[in-house]
Symmetry: C2
């Protein structure tokens, strides 16, 4: 029942946005009584934060599985970048975006979202470093990995207003080249 409520919440965040996601709509979509819902999640904020946490965890597992299938050799960097680009163009990103933007002007929500965001940020960064084989003891490498994640976040935001796939592909091609040259001295190419 808990999982049904959380998945209904994520769907509604993606379809209706934060302000269009009401606890009544969630209980209707999940087919759960209002009483049972209030027992699990007393407030809308409890519900949306738990839903995005849940989705993030599920997606993190999917990312780990996708990472295990990445090629090695010259195509690897591009494949890593594509995996990240897809992640930030999917429903997890959209639901999280709704939460971030709502949290900007809602102190109680911000208090719940900010720690989640820090954990996710740290984990995604560590995974990216590992997948790229980046050596963060080298000056500037940490910042380049961060820039990569900020880039895919920016592309994700651009993508929410329209289908941006061809443009994103060209930019990620170019970024992968730059990363290879800078991180591996072009040795992988």
């Amino acid at each position: 029942m808990r999982a049904r409520l959380l998945e209904a919440t994520v769907e509604l965040l993606v379809e209706n946005g934060f302000s269009g996601t009401t606890t009544t709509l969630v209980s209707e979509r999940a087919g759960v009584s209002r009483g049972a819902q209030l027992h699990h999640f007393p407030t809308k904020n409890d519900l949306v934060v738990a839903a995005v946490t849940h989705l993030t965890e599920r997606r993190h597992e999917e990312l780990q599985a996708a990472a295990a299938r990445l090629p090695t050799g010259p195509q690897r960097t591009r494949a890593v970048i594509q995996m990240l680009g897809d992640h930030f163009a999917g429903p997890v990103f959209t639901a999280a975006l709704e939460l971030w933007v709502a949290a900007r002007t809602d102190a109680a929500l911000l208090e719940a979202v900010a720690p989640l965001e820090r954990v996710v940020g740290r984990e995604t960064h560590a995974m990216t470093v590992r997948l790229l084989g980046a050596d963060e003891s080298q000056p500037g490498v940490r910042e380049l990995v961060q820039a990569t994640l900020d880039l895919v976040r920016g592309l994700g935001l651009a993508g929410t207003l329209g289908d941006d796939t061809p443009r994103r592909r060209r930019i990620l091609d170019r970024w992968a080249e730059t990363l290879d040259t800078t991180l591996h001295g072009g040795n992988r190419k």
Copy 2:
């Protein structure tokens, strides 16, 4: 009166978000009667789109003025990147972000926002090319300029959840270095 209404709207978008910006609050803050406001802007959507257009134009003039003061020589790329980073960390970006996210799930708003977004995107791209002295006839250069703008957009989004200035500065330092090496073969350094 029109300008007062538009500036009150932008302030409220930044302070309260899209759903917390009501036409009643705007007329109160601007000190304009409801009748006069409805005469200028019949709907909330008319008001918010006009407000962000107005702010974008004003900010574009400020960017042009800032661009005229940019240094030439080895510090130029870093200064251009800082100017863009600051732009995407300011109130215009925040107000536009509220509009983008609301437009994602509001077809009427999207119809008004999408053309504005295309014009702004094109103008910002052209300005960035000019300021960086980037030669877009070279393969990959166009994508590198686009990546720069998506990067500052991603940093802007990260910044809305907390003060991100020191991290942003280090990333922009690193990116300016990479751009100089790639666009100018390091000749500017």
